[in-house]
Symmetry: C2
Subunit: 367 residues, 2 copies
């Protein structure tokens, strides 16, 4: 399948030759971390047989690779980001890199500080789920790149940084598909939980889409997918059916309660985060309503809890681990191009598939 190679052998090939894991080979050849004396011997012998050592060490010395990646996420307490980080750290570990993680709580100033810390700690590259919402707020990322530290965006595209490698899902299409499933079941009054973090409810659709453009990228895209599905079905947009305000479970309880008390109440809910789902479930229970007989529900971010609910919930599963893995691969292929299949380096936007998991929380409306 592959043409004969003129490039020097990779760490992976040394690992195979030595019959050890790639991390062990990378640690031995990189001269860092713990490797048992027996394994170290085997790796060095294999490297010598393949003619690896001289090349690799020379490259390592000339590039000053520290074998450390930095990762910046908005909230490490969110299981979604925890899954992404696990994908990153597993993948980088397998290639001999350690991973340093910082959490910013959606605070741009904290993100700026985090980038400075990682520059100071001399990481070889940075993966960031950025809180930067618009072109004017990306100076810190430009600063890292100006210092020749490659940056990969994960989970969130950032306006003005379109040329950076970006690993995301198609939030808009996944949301459109979910809302279309509710419409196909017969629903016309579908609540969107949660929306822009503004105090005043937008009166018109144009105001809402302007707000979405200033929201976290993923959340704005999910709102656009909701509107797409309404458009496709020729359904009108009703601002009363979009949650606004702080993105908290408490607020979701209030807003869903409000939507359930409307004269022409919602008969279905599309919840874009785990806490939007649990907030909606509390509000539904507080009104004495049942799923799916009285209210249908689809949520974002599947978890083992969603599958054991009564009824099991229809959910959109994000490939958290795969998002992290791909982001790490793209970054590591930039840092160590010798190990990279050529086709990987061409793409800028990497869009991974979500999975719509139909369970038992969707039924036709009762009225």
């Amino acid at each position: 399948m592959t043409a004969e190679r003129s490039t020097p052998p990779t760490i992976s090939e040394v690992a195979v030759e030595a019959n050890v894991g790639r991390a062990t080979a990378a640690r031995t050849l990189g001269g860092y971390g713990y490797v048992s004396p027996e394994l170290r011997e085997r790796v060095l012998a294999a490297a010598e047989r393949l003619g690896y050592r001289a090349n690799a060490l020379a490259r390592s010395m000339s590039t000053g690779v520290s074998h450390t990646l930095g990762v910046i996420v908005a909230d490490i307490g969110n299981p979604f980001f925890a899954g992404v980080v696990r994908g990153i750290s597993d993948t980088s570990r397998a290639r001999g890199f350690d991973t340093l993680v910082l959490s910013t709580h959606e605070d741009l100033a904290e993100e700026v500080a985090a980038v400075n810390v990682l520059i100071d700690k001399r990481v070889d590259g940075i993966i960031v789920a950025s809180a930067a919402l618009r072109p004017g707020s990306t100076a810190h990322i430009e600063e890292a790149r100006a210092r020749d530290i490659p940056v990969v965006l994960v989970d969130r595209a950032v306006p003005g940084l379109d040329e950076l490698p970006t690993v995301v899902i198609d939030n808009r299409e996944a949301s459109r598909e979910a809302v279309a499933a509710l419409i196909a079941a017969g629903h016309r009054r579908i609540g969107f939980v949660w929306g822009p973090p503004v105090d005043d409810r937008p009166a018109r659709r144009r105001e809402l889409t302007a707000m979405a453009a200033n929201d976290i990228w993923t959340d704005g895209e999910r709102l656009r997918g909701y509107l797409d599905a309404l458009d496709d079905a020729g359904l009108p947009f009703d601002p009363e059916l979009v949650m606004v305000g702080p993105k908290t479970e408490e607020r979701a309880i209030e807003e869903v309660g409000r939507m359930l008390r409307l004269d022409d109440r919602v008969t279905a809910l599309f919840c874009t985060e785990t806490e939007a789902v649990t907030g909606a479930l509390r509000a539904i229970r507080a009104r004495g309503l049942r799923i799916p007989a009285d209210v249908s529900l689809i949520g974002f971010d599947d978890s083992s809890w969603a599958a054991v609910m009564d009824p099991p919930l229809t959910m959109i599963e994000q490939p958290m681990f795969a998002l992290g893995r791909r982001a790490a691969e793209v970054l590591l292929d930039t840092i160590e191009p010798g190990d990279a299949p050529a086709e990987r380096e061409e793409a800028t936007r990497h869009t991974l598939d979500t999975r719509f998991i139909p369970r038992d929380s969707v039924a036709p409306p009762s009225r």
Copy 2:
């Protein structure tokens, strides 16, 4: 309340004087991270009024504080550790320290490597939820201390490191209380999910407790609490009622299924991790049984999902955030003793309270 102080003013006092957050004051005085020009001016003026600057900067220069903490956890993908990390990073951020997190997947070799990385990155202190199970495996932690890097243990005590500050919950007592609640409801056949990761089921209690001593500290303590509750009630120990094998949801499904198929089957389950709970729920559902009519259940690690289950689940809530906060406080008080209330420095073992949350998943046995 306090006697007149002879110590120099703290960063907190400068922050109050300048009417800014402590993080802003710490960043300004530490000369790192982003602070707006206006706030920087206010902080420097306040520091001058209080006579802070010379002392603090001198201390910072003489001690070489880098304002970075390192955190090592077994699995950042576990919501428990994500919560602990959030407590650590919020607390250290408020005191002007950044937090670097590494995840080890319960692998001692990875933990050794992680400590080396943090030493290399010149952190001021390390918080670790250690995978080290016995006195012989703690050389890496001794190495950090030999380099004058203070270490605080969180979530898990480590045999042989009793003199290190250790922030934990009383796993044994929390478990005893939960199992006692099941016994008080009338249960005699109570399954323990999950137990030691061994292939062969222990035939006798003595073997089981020996296995527990070689398990992760928290898991061993929870098993001891289960046995305590049986002892208190004069109930016999039956090895068939303890899950063994890999600590995975899949294994929990198998083992709970087995316990439910016994001639004298379990009527209640005590599940010590989130995935033990969801595994048990799947096994119960697969047998067509209902909670609590057919099986009672108590779980460890409350979550918003547990509260919206039908029925809502009785759970033990761990103070994840507070564990992280206390660990960070103890560590920062060691690094910056000037800011510390004296009484904090005396304790070595810090035991935080858990909360037993009775909901609707416990009832008397049907037979």
